[in-house]
């Protein structure tokens, strides 16, 4: 039998935030306001998402589902920018396109190749997209932050390579490698801890809502692979796009 969380239980769970506030204050991090705002936002967004999903699943219209996907990707792009604290021309567009391409590819592959659905079912599309986009978002924030900070620290080396005849791609390759690796490592290392150290969110959710653990395993495996692949594609694409914001078309430094 499944036991739901009651409203009082939910209220008590917020009590855990006190520990975060207490410890961060003790170390003088001065982020209490940020913590409160982000957890408040999270709560409102999730409640809103709950109601919206109810509605979207009921209607199950391909256009509506696609619109929801586009909105999700747009917000993911904005969050990456906020978190990585970098800004330059067209970054939102670049992020949007990178996530859009990787997510669309992975979704189509998962829905029709792996799960073998007959139609574009919102009940599958949205949660899957959420996991894929969310993971791409986290890794891309690491990626572009690393790419720009390392480019700034290594301007002289980049210029040296340019002087020796390197083109844009070649002059930035040592930076791209570093940023790409940093963005992929979390997904790869989390894959190796799965099942032993922790149960991934999706599987936990399925088990808590009463599904046989063995059934949820094959789903989880496919999804972990899908997430890692989409993380790789989106990070590769964004790296190719943002090269242009370090070196212009004349291959001159502009940071």
């Amino acid at each position: 039998m499944i036991k739901h969380i009651s409203s009082s239980g939910l209220f008590i769970s917020y009590g855990m935030l006190l520990i975060i506030i207490l410890l961060t204050n003790k170390e003088n991090l001065k982020i209490t306001k940020d913590i409160l705002i982000s957890f408040f936002r999270m709560s409102v967004q999730l409640f809103f998402a709950g109601f919206a999903l109810l509605y979207i699943f009921k209607i199950d219209n391909i256009l509506l589902t696609t619109c929801v996907l586009v909105v999700m990707i747009f917000f993911a792009s904005r969050i990456v920018i906020d978190r990585s604290k970098v800004s330059f021309k067209n970054i939102t567009l670049y992020l949007f396109v990178s996530i859009l391409i990787s997510t669309s590819f992975i979704l189509l592959f998962m829905l029709f190749g792996v799960i073998k659905l007959k139609s574009f079912d919102a009940r599958y599309v949205i949660p899957l997209a959420g996991m894929v986009i969310g993971n791409s978002m986290n890794s891309m924030a690491i990626n572009i932050e690393r790419f720009f900070s390392k480019s700034k620290d290594n301007k002289e080396v980049i210029e040296e390579l340019l002087c020796l005849g390197a083109n844009r791609y070649e002059a930035l390759s040592f930076i791209r490698m570093d940023a790409f690796k940093a963005s992929l490592l979390p997904s790869l290392s989390s894959a190796s801890g799965m099942g032993i150290v922790f149960l991934p969110g999706m599987m936990t959710g399925q088990i808590l809502s009463g599904i046989n653990p063995l059934e949820s395993v094959s789903y989880q495996i496919a999804i972990v692979i899908a997430i890692a692949t989409s993380v790789t594609i989106s990070n590769y694409l964004i790296l190719r796009f943002i090269e242009k914001s370090v070196l212009n078309n004349k291959e001159q430094l502009i940071i």
Partner: protein, 213 residues
Amino acid sequence: MCIEFRNVSLNLSKKSILLDINITIKKGFVLLYGESGSGKSSFLKLINMLYSPTSGNIFYKGKNINSYQTSIWRSMCMLVRQMPMFVEGSVVDNIKFPFSFRANKDKVFDDKLLDNLLDRFKLNKTILQKDVSTLSGGEAQRISIIRTVLLKPKIYLFDEPTSALDVYLQDDIFSFIKEISINHICIVCSHAKEAEKWCDVSLRVANKRVLYD
């Protein structure tokens, strides 16, 4: 074979650095001198396209250098920077690395020339296996010159190539530049007194202008 500046001006972050430069540079050892901050390095960077003129154009053999693909142009016209930089690894890795660039794909690594240059610049062959982080300033400077010479560009731009070297080694470098300048345009920006006795002509950079002495 000459580089020609036509009405070239350069502003950097809205500050005027060079103004209305009209000058033709032919092959030979061309010394570029002037006070620190007068725009010597910027002048060199304009030639190898690390900067683009704010106005005006630069021509090579009558062809606007803008019409070259940038990396191809830089593989023909190489700048040896004042502060040499290396990627992680050994000296030999760093010397060979630029040969992997697409713009340098037709260039062949010349082992004999390498031995020759090491000898000439009084470096022991064992330096090739050293990690670049262990090089002294003078060693790094000579290695960076060797790295560029092995790539055999048509035009050489040297930005203070001897700033970390003693007088004897300075002569080694300048006499070498003198030798290659028979067939190449070599523009050398230097504060060293030694350079004056080796150069064919000298260019003075002052008050945002570049003029022949």
